[in-house]
């Protein structure tokens, strides 16, 4: 390759990297074929399932797009899920035999007719109930490519640097490093997506072809007549590609106040967990490989204190939550994993445990400086 071609190629790469990504946009620089799959995958993502096409018999939503819709496909939703588990320290039982950990809130007409229930029964052995909002799934394909070694490099379970932050990695049930889900149970985006179809819509797929039981009981005969799996490998792959190719929204440009807020965000210690930028590792797709992107997470579990504690999951205790990626915060209407905070300041003030230090420092700021931090966060 001649120097001239190198220069031209570099310009294209720079242009792709510099492109502003709006919520719902694909990652810049995708090849034509990938953009086509993004578009076709969006169709699957936006599909509305019915009992005739696989919905249920238990479900939380009729399609991915019902919960991930605001401000664009892949965004937030106003639905609140119910999760349950039993914590008998140190072991966590996700209560699979009683229908956990996700307790579906809707039933198909056939299941309602058979059992007379409108939602899955809450597991009787649960020691805790959790509420979960639908997060944005923007940038998840990039988070998927952050090497485990990078995540582990941020871990400090014994707080050796004595900053009060003791992140540790979540673990999948088979021992791999987890990164997806509010408790960091799921190691890869593909698995999260393949599990989301049966968990959220009751639509089985080739990677999880088994329907969930009904609160621990088998599905009554005739209630779910469609053979498993209820969607094809290709439909699953397309939906997966749509989510994988959703870009991480570019933070808005900030003025003097926002710049001050960004500086304070780091000084307060918020950035110890909400690490502003992460870098992907290898990918066969150049648009995703070795890309730095706004993440504002370390993908680790942190003790957030007793006020926020709810369920355990995997190695996560009730107090542990994975650092939420602060993506598209500008469009958020509620905050924290269960939506209990109606504003950014309230969300900060609800940080406990390892977040207490940063919270206290935030609370000690002047009103103008607190407003600056909020202004910065609203630019994300």
């Amino acid at each position: 390759m001649t120097p001239r071609w190198v220069a031209v190629a570099s310009l294209f790469v720079f242009a792709a990297c510099a492109k502003v990504v709006k919520p719902g946009d694909p990652i810049p620089g995708l090849a034509r074929e990938q953009r086509a799959r993004f578009a076709r995958g969006k169709t699957v993502f936006d599909s509305i399932f019915t009992p005739e096409t696989g919905l249920g018999p238990l479900f939380n939503s009729t399609g991915c797009g019902e919960c991930h819709e605001d401000p664009a496909a892949g965004g937030r939703g106003d639905e609140i899920e119910v999760h349950a588990a039993a914590f008998h320290a140190p072991a966590c039982d996700p209560l699979v035999e009683e229908g956990g950990p996700v307790v579906q809130q809707h039933t198909t007409p056939a299941l309602k007719q058979a059992l007379g229930i409108d939602s899955e029964p809450f597991p009787p052995s649960a020691t805790a109930r959790a509420h979960r909002t639908s997060p944005v799934v923007f940038g998840r394909g990039l988070l998927d490519l952050v090497p485990d070694s990078v995540i582990l490099s941020y871990a400090d379970p014994d707080d050796r640097n004595q900053d009060g932050i003791r992140g540790r990695p979540g673990r999948a049930l088979d021992g791999r490093v987890g990164r997806f889900g509010r408790k960091a149970l799921v190691p890869t985006l593909r698995e999260f997506n393949a599990g989301a179809f049966p968990t959220e819509t009751g639509v089985t797929d080739p990677e999880q072809p088994t329907e969930e039981n009904i609160g621990g009981q088998p599905i009554p005969p005739g209630v779910d007549p469609l053979p498993e799996p209820e969607i094809s490998s290709e439909a699953l792959a397309l939906a997966d590609d749509f989510v994988r190719f959703l870009g991480a929204p570019t933070p808005a440009k900030v003025g003097k106040e926002g710049r001050r807020g960004r500086q304070l965000f780091a000084q307060l210690g918020c950035a110890s967990c909400h690490i502003p930028k992460l870098r992907t590792g290898y990918s066969p797709l150049p648009a995703l490989a070795h890309r730095e992107f706004p993440a504002y997470t370390d993908l680790l579990l942190h003790d957030m204190g007793p006020e926020l504690a709810d369920i355990c999951l995997g190695v996560a205790t009730p107090e542990d939550f994975r650092t939420e990626p602060l993506l598209d915060l500008r469009d958020a209407k509620t905050f924290l994993h269960d939506g209990r905070a109606s504003g950014i300041e309230q969300a900060v003030e609800l940080h406990g445990g390892e977040g207490a230090g940063a919270r206290d420092r935030f609370n000690g700021l002047s009103a103008a400086d607190r407003a600056a931090v909020v202004a910065f966060l609203k630019s994300l």
Binding site: C92, V96, P169, R171, D174, F192, G195, A196, T199
Partner: protein
């Protein structure tokens, strides 16, 4: 003691000899080997007296339970019993199992404890 336990745990592989799994009348001679299934997940419950183990596996958040019987031969007198008795799986342990299917369900032929690295 602790390091001994750890060493036992790390080397804890329950291997049930194929001979003990074969029918006593020798009908397996020349038969096709049973299909093998591998599962890796977290132990939910282990009942040595019933030789039963419940494993939590799954895809993403779609979790499922795999019920496994540890082969009856594990409870026969002899070396196999001793090796099984020396292994105590507890809830939360991560294990990998190789199983075969029978009319009554899955039977584990090999169970290996997986050490999950500490950060």
């Amino acid at each position: 003691m602790r390091s001994t336990s750890r060493a036992v745990a790390l080397t804890a592989i329950v291997l049930l000899p194929a001979l003990t799994l074969a029918p006593a009348d020798g009908r397996a001679q020349g038969a096709q080997p049973a299909a093998s299934y591998t599962y890796q997940g977290t132990v939910r419950a282990f009942t040595p007296s019933r030789a039963s183990l419940d494993l939590i596996t799954g895809v993403g958040m779609a979790l499922r339970i795999v019920h496994v019987t540890v082969a009856p031969a594990a409870h026969a007198p002899g070396d196999t019993t001793a090796r099984l008795a020396g292994v105590e799986f507890k809830p939360g342990d991560v294990v990998r199992m190789e199983c075969h299917r029978t009319d009554t369900g899955l039977v584990a032929d090999r169970i290996e404890r997986i050490e999950v690295p500490k950060p």
